[in-house]
């Protein structure tokens, strides 16, 4: 956490001049590049929602994650608790983004909404172009199944199932035929370097290996987004390095990765760090990643508005 002020200072440009950043890329939506939109929160007009599906440039790729003024309010008792207060965030295909923040900052809530495990109280969330705001539980389950690969801190493998059967689990809910499932599970395990451990149960694997099985499970559906919640939180440094190397490899294969962490060392592997504090995005920008490449051009439309609230 002591690093935070430093990294914020190192990253002023994205918040002050989002237009300039957008100018470097044709990846993003034309309406967002209009100056009038950037200085204020984007109004959530119905016609705007409609226009999103009719791009002026048909070749412009759809961002994987597109959060517009997302608010989440919990009512644990009579008191309302706003966990998220107007989050605007866009993450393009192939990005490797770390979301950082202390506990209670709302990063877990953000992760739940991004992961379609929960829905926003207000605002729009499009996952790979699909508006998930109006979806019921069944549709959300399908979106999670098709679009998102989860990696959890606790690995969350089913102890009674062999590694390959843990990996094929998401495919069983996608009604993929048995033979195909097995083949894809074995392929995913091969990609995480566990081809020789497919019949081991989680209890017979080390923590790092278990997390690699979990990554294989996240990969097996070929999702638009890999969402990792503190993936190294339960791992020793060797296993952490192992898993982070795996994420680097996946990034090189153009996977979109969102990593939630509170460890600076882990976050620095990503190419962009989003800091969340008190339910708003505090700062956002490229960090000097270990991979050495420059940060991808990103959309930061909501940062200024987040701070002003």
């Amino acid at each position: 956490m002591t690093d935070r002020t430093g990294s914020e200072g190192a990253d002023p440009g994205s918040a002050d001049d989002p237009l300039g950043l957008w100018g470097t890329s044709s990846l993003f939506v034309p309406e967002h590049s209009e100056p009038s939109v950037t200085t204020e929160p984007i109004p959530l007009l119905p016609n705007q929602t409609v226009s999103r599906t009719q791009w002026a440039d048909p070749d412009a790729p759809v961002p994987v994650i597109d959060l517009l003024d997302v608010t989440k309010v919990y009512r644990p008792g009579s008191l309302e608790v706003a966990a998220l207060r107007g989050i605007d965030l866009r993450i393009g295909a192939g990005e490797y983004v770390a979301i950082m923040g202390p506990s209670g900052s709302g990063k877990s809530t953000l992760m739940h909404i991004v992961g379609c495990l929960d829905v926003a109280t207000q605002g729009v969330y499009r996952l790979a172009g699909e508006d998930v705001g109006d979806m019921d539980e069944v549709d959300l389950a399908e979106v999670r199944n098709r679009r998102i690969g989860f990696v959890f801190q606790q690995f969350n493998l089913l102890p009674s199932l062999a590694a390959w059967r843990n990996v094929e689990l998401p495919l069983t809910y996608a009604r993929v035929p048995r033979d195909t499932r097995r083949a894809r599970a074995l392929e995913a395990l091969d990609r995480v370097g566990l081809a020789d451990r497919v019949h081991h149960r989680p209890g017979e694997l080390s923590g790092g290996q278990q997390q690699r099985v979990a990554v294989a499970r996240a990969l097996v559906t070929d999702p638009a987004l890999i969402l990792a919640d503190e993936p190294t939180g339960n791992l020793d440094s060797a296993a952490t390095a192992d898993v982070l190397r795996l994420f680097d490899e996946l990034h090189e294969q153009d996977r979109t990765i969102v990593l939630i962490t509170h460890e600076m060392g882990v976050a620095q592997r990503a190419h962009r760090i989003v800091r969340v504090l008190d339910g708003v995005i505090q700062s956002e920008g490229a960090e000097p990643g270990i991979a050495g490449s420059a940060a991808d051009p990103v959309s930061v439309a909501g940062v200024a508005s987040g701070v002003t609230r």
Binding site: A141, N145, N156, L158, S160, L169, P170, T172, Y173, R175
Partner: protein, 410 residues
């Protein structure tokens, strides 16, 4: 996830907690075994009663003195109001007055001590006529039965049951032997073929004598012509009701009774006896089945309890499955199938235990247990239904868990 895989997953989960699943199944198992056994016992006792009543003979009507406080007493002639007489029997036997009655066998019985040489044997001595053999559907293994001449002459002759003969003479081969009953010397003229025994009477342990001999030389008393029972055999099964009406009208007339409601006799058929007997055993069966059903209910609550524990214990697994894209229906189905598999396994094992019990218990208790396939299939279906019914609530609870809450749980 298709049904087969869901069943496999459920089975894996059950095998993952062998002891717990086994104990849960035990509740269903005991309940189903109890149902199979009690239904079997009920059917068995009905069958037994049916066999006993049909062993009386076929197409039978049984006339008993209705106003008598004691029937067939040792001193039937003295004081007791036995309203049936040999005259009644003779009138019923008339083909003119009662054309649908094929045969009539009046009975006058007493318990006497039989002596042959130095051997004593106390048994039931039945005084009757020659038609008894046909009416009661008995056969002889040796010798001859009573004749009309025996009755007319009050002859001192007797036909022994096979067991009585064996007790007195060491073998059923007793024709020509002498036996003393109440200081009267009788000659054994025939031996009845064995008819087995039922729970209440031993059909093979009795001595048949002419009814006239019984009233005049054994029992005596002032109402010598009184009888305890008159068996009437209808000519054919479809003449039974005609025979009933003829006998009823004839006896009312003979007894000078105007209103049938004040009749001093009762005519019952095998059907009415059977109905009475079955209604008793049916009540018993219903009672026992009720107890068995209660134990099934307890077993079902056990299933629900364990499924709720299972849902709580596997909250994290449910959360994970939901995060990986399992819709609520899939989660509900998974737990429902698990409960159903528990119920079904308990049902199959319980039915097996019930069948095993039905094979072993009759040898120990001397009762008849009839395992009907319908009861077995039905009880297995009930066990499955119990799994479903008591699985619905836990499964719905699992399906309703919010994925984030479920994932957060420890």
């Amino acid at each position: 996830m298709n049904w087969w895989e869901t069943i496999r997953t459920g089975w894996d989960a059950i095998l993952g907690h062998r002891l717990r699943s086994g104990l849960t199944m035990l509740g269903i198992l005991i309940g189903i075994a109890a149902v199979v056994l009690t239904v079997g016992l009920g059917l068995g006792s009905q069958q037994e009663v049916g066999a006993r009543i049909s062993s009386l003979g076929s197409n039978l009507l049984i006339v008993t003195p209705g106003s008598s406080t004691t029937t067939g007493g040792i001193r039937g002639g003295f004081g007791t109001a036995s309203t049936l007489t040999t005259d009644d029997a003779d009138a019923l036997a008339s083909t003119v007055a009662a054309p649908d009655i094929a045969a009539v066998a009046p009975i006058k019985s007493t318990s006497e001590s039989l002596t042959a040489g130095s051997t004593n044997w106390t048994t039931s001595v039945v005084g009757t006529g020659p038609s008894w053999l046909d009416v009661r559907a008995r056969t002889l293994s040796d010798g001859r039965f009573l004749t009309s001449a025996d009755v007319a002459e009050s002859a001192a002759v007797t036909v022994l049951g096979s067991e009585t003969a064996t007790e007195l003479f060491g073998s059923p081969d007793a024709v020509g032997q002498a036996v003393t009953i109440n200081n009267v010397d009788f000659t054994v003229v025939g031996v009845l073929a064995s008819a087995g025994s039922d729970a209440s009477t031993n059909l093979d342990d009795q001595a048949i004598v002419p009814i006239s001999t019984a009233s005049n030389r054994l029992i005596g008393g002032t109402t010598r012509n009184a009888v305890s029972t008159i068996y009437i055999q209808a000519a054919a099964p479809d003449m039974l009701s005609a025979a009933y009406q003829e006998a009823d009208a004839l006896l009312l007339n003979l007894h000078h009774i105007a209103s049938p409601t004040s009749a001093d006799f009762t005519i019952s058929s095998q059907q009415t006896l059977l109905a009475t007997a079955t209604s008793v055993s049916r009540t018993l069966t219903i009672l026992l089945t009720g107890v068995a059903a209660l134990s099934l209910l307890v077993g079902g609550i056990g299933v629900m309890n364990i499924m709720l524990v299972s849902v709580t214990e596997r909250t994290r697994e449910i959360g994970l499955r939901k995060a990986l894209g399992a819709p609520p229906a899939a989660i509900r189905r998974q737990f429902l199938v698990e409960a159903t598999v528990l119920g079904l396994a308990g049902g199959v094992l319980g039915a097996a235990l019930g069948i095993a019990g039905a094979l072993v218990l009759p040898n120990l208790l001397g009762t008849t247990i009839v395992v009907s396939p319908a009861a077995v299939v039905g009880s297995i279906a009930i066990a499955m239904a119990i799994g479903v019914v008591f699985g619905v609530y836990p499964a719905t609870r699992a399906a309703r868990l919010a994925p984030i809450d479920a994932l957060r749980s420890e």
